[in-house]
Point group: none
DNA sequence: CGATCTAGAATGTATAGACATCTAGATATT
DNA sequence: AATATCTAGATGTCTATACATTCTAGATCG
C-alpha cells in the first residue's frame, strides 16, 4: 500500500478507500487511531484528514469525530467529464477526427496543470470531436508521458476517459475554466464555421483517484452548436470567518 | 488588526488584503518573513498560507516562494455563489446599476424554470453588475412574486443571495446552462463593449432547501473580462465496481 | 427518576525544531 | 565562454508535545 514516499498521501489514499466503502455520516478513525495505525505523529495524520476535508469527502466535528461527508463523493455535478459521455446523454454518437498525435514539450500552462516543469516531455493529442458526424469542437489534450505510455489508445473513436479507467486511473476530479472569444481562421476551417462566429473555450485538468493529473485539455467549441449545462450545489467554502 | 482569537485567521486576512492589492504572479512574504512579522512559529504561518492555497488565491512553488495565483479565482461554477461574493474573492468590490425593477409576466422560459404558467405574474429585476466600477455583466433575474414579497431588497448594492438567506430560503441547488454569442448593440452600450465583441450567456435557476425555485436568471458577461471556473466530479454510475 | 457534574475523548490551535527537496544565482572549473 | 559545483533561501514533510474547546456518556446527587 505504501507506494508513496510521502506518508500523509498514503494515509489519505487509505482514507479514500474507507470512504468509498462507507455510507454518508459514517464515523471514521480518529486522529489517535490513525497515529497508531500508521505509526506517525498526530500532525501528519491531521494533514491527511485535512486533505479529504478540502475535497469535501469528510467532515470533522469538534469533540465528536471525523465523518463521511453528507454529500459523500461530492457527486455534486451532473457534468460528465468526457465528451463521449456528454454526447451520449444528448442522444448523439460521438466520434473523432485525429489531427495530431505525437510527443511534445509542455508549455508553461501545461506544466502548471500537470505539476511538472515547462519543456518536460508530454504526449499531445489533437482531435476534432464530432456528434453525429457534425464537428462540435477541437480538443487539444496533453498527457504526462508515463500516463500515455500506459494507455492503449484508439485514436479513431477512442474515449480517453475509457482508456484511463482501463489503465487503473479513475478520473475523479476536474478543474475547468470556461471563456469565449471569436473563432480563428484555423478553427473556422476545422469546425466548418463562418467567419466572425463565436467559440467557447474550455481549459480543463482531470485528476485520478489519487489526485494525480491525468490530462490537461484545451477545447474550443462551436458556440452555436454547443452549450454547457450543469447541476450545481453550493460548496460552502468557508474562506473567511 | 488582530480581531480574531485565532492567529492564523488574522494572518490569512492580512494575506488576502495583500493579494487584493497585488497583481497576478506577485511574490508574497515567505514563511520565514511571516513568522517574524507575526511572531509565530512556521507551522502557524503555513496554516494561514495553506488556507489561501485552498481558495486558489495564491500558489506555492517549492524552492521559489508563494505567489499571487495566476487567475485569482473566478466564480466557481460548482458553487452558485453570488456575484457579490465572487467579486470579493477576487479582491474586487461588487456594485450594481439598476436598469429595471418591476412586476412583469413570466415568459415561456421563466414559467418552465419557475414551475408556473406563462403570463403568470413575476417580479423582474434587471441590473448591470460592476466590479470596481467596471461593468462585468447584465443580469436579468425573474422571481416568483410571493418570494419577492418576502425579501427586503436593496437594489443599489444588494446581493440577492443574502436577501434569500435572510428570508429563510437557502440556495441549495441550481441548474445552469452556459453558452456564448456576439454582443448586441444594447449590451455593448451597457457593458461599454466594442462592436463585434463576445459575451458569455448564462441561464440559471436556483432552488432553495425545499426544492422550491427561487429565481430564474439570464446573465450576459463580457467575455474578455470574465471567465467561469468549475470543479467537477464525475457521475457515479452504480453499475461498475 | 431526573437533573447536574465530571472525566474522557475528539478535534482545534500552536510551538520549536529537524531534515528533505527544489530553485536560482554565485562561484569555481575546464 | 561554457560547464559544473556550491550555496543560500524557499517550500515540503514530519516529529513530539502542550493546552484549549467541544461533545458524549456515565457517575453522582437531590
Amino acid at each position: 500500500m505504501g507506494t508513496n514516499q510521502v506518508i500523509y498521501l498514503d494515509i489519505a489514499a487509505h482514507l479514500r478507500d474507507v470512504v468509498a466503502k462507507s455510507n454518508q455520516g459514517d464515523l471514521l478513525p480518529s486522529d489517535a487511531e490513525l497515529c497508531e495505525l500508521f505509526g506517525v505523529s498526530r500532525m501528519t495524520a491531521r494533514q491527511a484528514v485535512q486533505l479529504l476535508v478540502n475535497e469535501h469527502l469528510v467532515e470533522r466535528r469538534r469533540g465528536r469525530g471525523t465523518f463521511v461527508a453528507k454529500r459523500p463523493v461530492p457527486r455534486a455535478l451532473g457534468s460528465p467529464l468526457s465528451f463521449t459521455e456528454s454526447m451520449r446523454q444528448r442522444g448523439l454518437v460521438a466520434s473523432s477526427r485525429p489531427l495530431e498525435s505525437r510527443p511534445a514539450e509542455a508549455t508553461e500552462d501545461d506544466a502548471t496543470a500537470l505539476d511538472t516543469k515547462a519543456g518536460d516531455p508530454v504526449f499531445l493529442m489533437e482531435r476534432v470531436r464530432l456528434a453525429d458526424g457534425v464537428p462540435m469542437a477541437i480538443e487539444r489534450a496533453i498527457l504526462p508521458t508515463d500516463i500515455a505510455a500506459e494507455l492503449d489508445l484508439d485514436f479513431g473513436s477512442g474515449s480517453l476517459h475509457a482508456a484511463f479507467e482501463a489503465a487503473g486511473h479513475v478520473p475523479s476530479k476536474a478543474h475547468a475554466e470556461v471563456g469565449a472569444r471569436l473563432s480563428t481562421e484555423w478553427e473556422q476551417e476545422h469546425l466548418e464555421l463562418d467567419p466572425g462566429t463565436v467559440v467557447i473555450t474550455e481549459e480543463r485538468t482531470i485528476f485520478d483517484q489519487d489526485g494525480r493529473p491525468l490530462e490537461h485539455t484545451l477545447t474550443v467549441y462551436a458556440a452555436d452548436r454547443y452549450s454547457f449545462s450543469a447541476v450545481l450545489y453550493p460548496h460552502e467554502e468557508e474562506s473567511n470567518r
